[in-house]
């Protein structure tokens, strides 16, 4: 896709003339070492907060690790149990289900919002800022407010449904209803953010393309489909990948939505328990840290697989 921009063979500079010994040693050292010094902060921080926890989690996942600490090496036993654990697969299903239910409408809606914001509108700046507001709201606040909106007895949604003659829904009791409620929270929070990314991409599309299309008699919708969407493909790929990663880590919204003292189970029958909730439950509630670590690594693996699938799809369709 991208061409190699650096000239290769020609780049080799001629050997510098050798000045006095001391200076050359210092400058040679400087030349060799300082680049590493410059990039060191990132690697340092990554090593402490990224790489080490990652590897340590892998190490813990190979042990029978509970409250008392390391209870002995057990190899891949935790992973073997995990593959036969219906609660884990249930959580994976829930996570993927909510991922699709949240991401697809969210990105489509974001595209439409971005297209609208790209028009000549009154108070355009205000509107553009407005769509960003949900993202600065705290997740917990969103969770609490939406939990009340989707409440069984006194919720606003049930109140509205009642007006049109629908019997009240116990939103937490079923998969479909709880998924809708949680996806709504995610959508409300992220649609504006994604539409701003799309908007930025749309503004870099040359005007001439639209002018030419108008001359050819293409309608607005046709222009949107044939010019806008293909031209902002990189932005779309970016948002899809970011939403996938965020969706795989969905935690706070369902946790707050599920109430009471055992909310981490995500409903009486684990209707809306995500994998990260299951990881937390296993590690910190059931005190099985080894098993929790194994789940954490499975989440990592799942995200990797999804990212690769995303990548393959976008690469194939861009050919």
């Amino acid at each position: 896709m991208v061409t190699q921009q650096r000239p290769r063979a020609a780049a080799k500079p001629p050997a510098p003339p050798r000045p006095r010994e001391r200076g050359s040693l210092l400058s040679r050292w400087d030349l060799k070492a300082s680049p590493y010094l410059y990039i060191a902060p990132f690697f340092l921080i990554f090593a402490v907060f990224g790489l080490f926890p990652l590897l340590y989690t892998a190490w813990v996942s190979l042990h029978n690790w509970d409250l008392g600490g390391d209870g002995g090496f057990i190899g891949l036993d935790n992973y073997a149990t995990l593959f036969g654990d219906p609660d884990f697969w249930n959580a994976v299903g829930n996570t993927l289900g909510m991922l699709v239910l949240a991401t697809v409408p969210q990105l489509l809606l974001a595209l439409v919002v971005a297209a609208l914001l790209n028009q000549q509108l009154r108070a355009r700046l205000l509107l553009r800022m407005g769509v960003l507001l949900p993202i600065v709201t705290s997740v917990a606040a969103v969770g609490i407010v939406f939990s009340q909106i989707f409440d069984r007895d006194a919720g606003m949604v049930n109140g509205l449904l009642h007006l049109v003659g629908v019997t009240p829904i116990d939103w937490r009791a079923d998969k479909w209803s709880s998924w809708i409620a949680i996806s709504t929270m995610v959508d409300w929070r992220w649609t504006g953010y994604n539409s701003l990314i799309y908007l930025a991409a749309m503004q870099s599309i040359p005007r001439e393309l639209y002018e030419a299309a108008t001359v050819d008699g293409a309608s607005k919708i046709r222009q949107f489909r044939s010019i806008t969407v293909p031209m902002i493909r990189p932005a779309i790929v970016f948002t899809v990948i970011m939403s996938t990663i965020a969706g795989m880590q969905l935690f706070t919204e369902p946790l707050i939505f599920g109430q009471g003292t055992y909310a981490i189970s995500g409903g009486s029958l684990r209707q809306f328990q995500t994998v990260s909730m299951y990881m937390f439950e296993k590690a910190f509630r059931d005190a099985d840290l080894g098993y929790g670590s194994a789940i954490a690594w499975m989440i990592f693996l799942l995200i990797t697989i999804l990212a690769v699938i995303n990548f393959l799809i976008t690469r194939r369709s861009s050919k």
Binding site: Y36, A40, Q259, G260, T261, S268
Partner: protein, 429 residues
Amino acid sequence: MPARLRRTLLATAMAATLAAAAACGGASDDQQSASGPVTLVVKTFSQFGYDALYKQYEASHPGVTIKEENIGKLGDYTPKLQQWMTAGSGAGDVVALEEGIISQYIAKPDKFVNLLAKGADSLKPDYLDWKWNQALTSDGKTLIGLGTDIGAQGMCYRKDLFQKAGLPVDRDQVGALWPTWDAYLATGKRFLTANTGAKFYDSSSGMYQNILMQQGDHTYYDKANTFVADSNPAVRSAYDQAVGMIQAGLSANLDQYSPQWNAGFKKGTFATIACPSWMLATIQKQAGPENADKWDVAKVPGNGAVRGGSFLGVPKQSKHQDQAVELVKFLTSAKGQIGAFGAKGNFPSSPQAIDDPVVQGLTNAYFGNAPVGKIFGASAKAVKPVYLGPANVAIGDRFTNALLAVEQGKLQPAEAWAKAIDEARRLVK
């Protein structure tokens, strides 16, 4: 390429070394000498009502400063405590251990200072036997905590709703309505026929736990820590009784501690709630002053019951173990327990404190001047000790979720039971 790889590795190694050095630098902290002034950090959840006691202790022990770090919800405190204990730092000098937590840690006593080695053995008569034994390892050699309060149970009820339903409102007559849980169920059915618009109780999980704890002896584990939930008739009968109440339509189906449950006190969506002593403060706060003359408290169905209750322990990671143990002894003494009871209504676990006129004579103005000291005291002393196994809380959660699924109409009682047993068995492996 290999050269570049080597250099990358070198850089990574360098970074790692630096990181390790930085980590070491952070580890050294203000180690205080044992004789100098010390600050004791006490970790608690919810409300222990110790503020006045800390002041007293600081006054009588110059050089000791006490700092309490509180986390509001037990559910948030438990994982934090676990992280501190696993990481080996952060737990402070004294930690509050709820009875569900202590039943987990009793299997790993080496994380805590053995209080028997610090002269606690002479204090045994100061605590109810079963309370003492909950913090004692099965070999009887290690004691990891001293009892603070116990959740002695009563049954709180709304007088206005009872009146509407044509039931008596006087607390003795109300208590006489339900000598047993079957009688409670019958009363509930009577209540529903009056169509007050309210349900009889808040949530089946509370009732189930209450009934289960009254059966005595052991629950999901026998005393050898063998999983017996599926064969223990006590568990099955508590479950069946709870199901019976659900099927009679008594439950308002509100998760305890959810916003709707909180609102239910104000709106009067349920007429009774099994209330441990520590819940009175919650009810008063949620129902608010406008419902001041509506709530009262009667005895609980069946004979005596407790739910919840805590201990104080000293983690081994504390740098001031001796001073911390002294503080624990002071706070959990009969005098300390009476102080906490006066401050926040935490019911004492020391028989001397229970019999103390201050506790016996206590009434609660919000609950129509109910003699809560007498009601809860009688309940606490009638309790049959129950042995809880290591994963007791986690297994209990599976059963209450099963009951919730029955309440929601998602599973038949028999299916829900099978599911709970299956999940619990996978949990204990």
